[in-house]
């Protein structure tokens, strides 16, 4: 059984170096919860995108990681929050190729495709929180269990 220790964390996002810690923590927490290699990679990549948005667009903030469960399934929830300018038009921000800076504009929409649950809370002028959750999918599917 995975334990909360080693998964729960609050990490600052203030510099490029902090992004390295964020990725490392997510990789290690995902491995500990039993995510397979592909899902680990997806989560780490989503975290990398969202943390960089927190840093670059939100002016810095933090990531909170937690272990969640539902109906016996384990999940990893990551919340990225900043008190930056917020996202005025979320639909546009989520669309592929839209960037207000010099990026590819793939980060936010791409991160949404890499995780199971995705929600954005953003108040223009006072900040943004992006919460994502992915669930460990174990090979023996329900169908085969019955």
């Amino acid at each position: 059984m995975p334990t909360a220790a080693g998964v729960e964390a609050r990490l600052p996002i203030r510099s490029d170096m902090d992004l390295v810690w964020v990725r490392q923590h997510v990789r290690q927490a995902a491995a500990q919860l039993g995510f397979g290699l592909v899902d680990q990679t997806k989560l780490v990549t989503a975290a990398s995108e969202l943390a960089r948005n927190t840093l670059v667009h939100g002016g810095g903030g933090l990531m909170e990681a937690s272990h969640v469960t539902t109906g016996g399934a384990d999940g990893l929830r990551l919340a990225f929050s900043d008190s930056g300018p917020g996202i005025p038009d979320l639909d546009r921000a989520l669309s592929d190729g839209y960037t207000s800076g010099g990026g590819l504009g793939m980060g936010l929409g791409g991160a949404r495709r890499l995780v199971h649950d995705f929600e954005v809370e953003s108040v223009p002028g006072s900040g943004t929180t992006v919460r994502v959750t992915s669930w460990v999918t174990r090979p023996p599917r329900q169908r085969e269990d019955v």
Partner: protein, 299 residues
């Protein structure tokens, strides 16, 4: 000597301290020479330690003279800044932590304080207290100057090491006439990507390379920024007349790139470094002849 009258007239506490430092310059330096900070750094001769101590006393007197006892940027400190940095660095090299160096610096105050108390035994308790406070502040500022200098040395060192690491981690390997490869290992942050691009382009020019292989087997995460860097590098190499091939995209990363929605369509990719080399050789028109021990396995 400036217009200073020995004893008698009481100036401001700061000037009292200044005069005291000038008067007791020799004794203070002698006592400091026995303190670990000086004793262990100036090991050749005691005189050297005493001379170094005098320089510090002179600096303190000058700072007091300028009424800047609380100011680590006071001009008086500039003469000893480098010396303090060398002393701090020597103690760090000897294995002391920053806290330990700081407490060795703090240990310089009591001997001076004792001399001050002995010197001003005629002064009122009030006057003595004021002078003593001034001295404490001044010595605190000295400590700050020494630590600041030591820390900026450390910063400069880590910056240098970081740069070295960037360079070391980006070797360019000549695989064949006209084919160079860069195996990338670790995090491709913006600074690193810049180095990779420059190193690769230089190699393309120097080695007249027609092909450059970027092997990302050792890159743990490919997100949109890393992909953007790769594409920029490929585009720049193309401008220099070289074709780039990206190899070593592991299966998990390939799947992630697809979900992320990145289009690497403009980038030539191969599964492994060997495949990439094979492709480049083929394009160069080089024939590779497989020589099996017997002809049995050939088709």
């Amino acid at each position: 000597m400036p217009e200073h009258e020995a004893g008698g007239s009481l100036g401001t506490p700061t000037h009292e301290v200044r005069d005291f430092l000038r008067r007791r310059r020799e004794q203070i330096a002698q006592r400091w020479a026995d303190e670990p900070l000086f004793r262990t750094v100036f090991t050749v001769s005691r005189d050297e330690a005493v001379e170094a101590g005098k320089a510090v006393v002179d600096a303190l007197a000058q700072v007091a003279d300028a009424q800047r006892v609380e100011d680590p940027d006071a001009a008086g400190f500039s003469a000893v800044r480098e010396q303090l940095a060398r002393m701090g660095a020597a103690r760090s090299r000897a294995g002391l932590s920053a806290t330990q160096v700081a407490s060795e610096l703090a240990a310089l105050r009591p001997p001076v304080e004792n001399l001050l108390v002995a010197d001003l035994d005629q002064a009122s308790p009030e006057g003595l207290r004021e002078c003593s406070t001034t001295l404490t502040v001044l010595m605190g500022t000295l400590r700050l100057v020494a630590m600041q200098t030591a820390l900026s040395e450390v910063q400069a060192l880590t910056d240098r090491q970081r740069l070295q690491l960037l360079e070391v981690a980006t070797p360019v390997i000549k695989l064949w006439d006209g084919i160079v490869a860069v195996p990338l290992i670790g995090t491709l942050d913006s600074a690193r990507s810049q180095v990779v691009m420059e190193t690769l382009l230089n190699a393309v020019v120097e080695q007249h390379a027609r092909f450059a292989i970027l092997d990302i087997t050792g890159v743990p995460t490919v997100d949109s920024l890393v992909a953007q860097h790769l594409m920029k590098t490929v585009a720049a190499a193309r401008l220099m007349g070289a074709e780039c091939v990206v190899s070593g995209i592991r299966p998990a990363i390939a799947q992630t790139i697809v979900h992320l929605g990145l289009d690497l369509g403009t980038v030539k990719t191969r599964a492994s470094l060997a495949d990439a080399l094979g492709y480049c050789l083929h394009e160069l028109g080089t024939n590779i002849v497989h020589t099996a021990p017997d002809g049995a396995g050939r088709r």
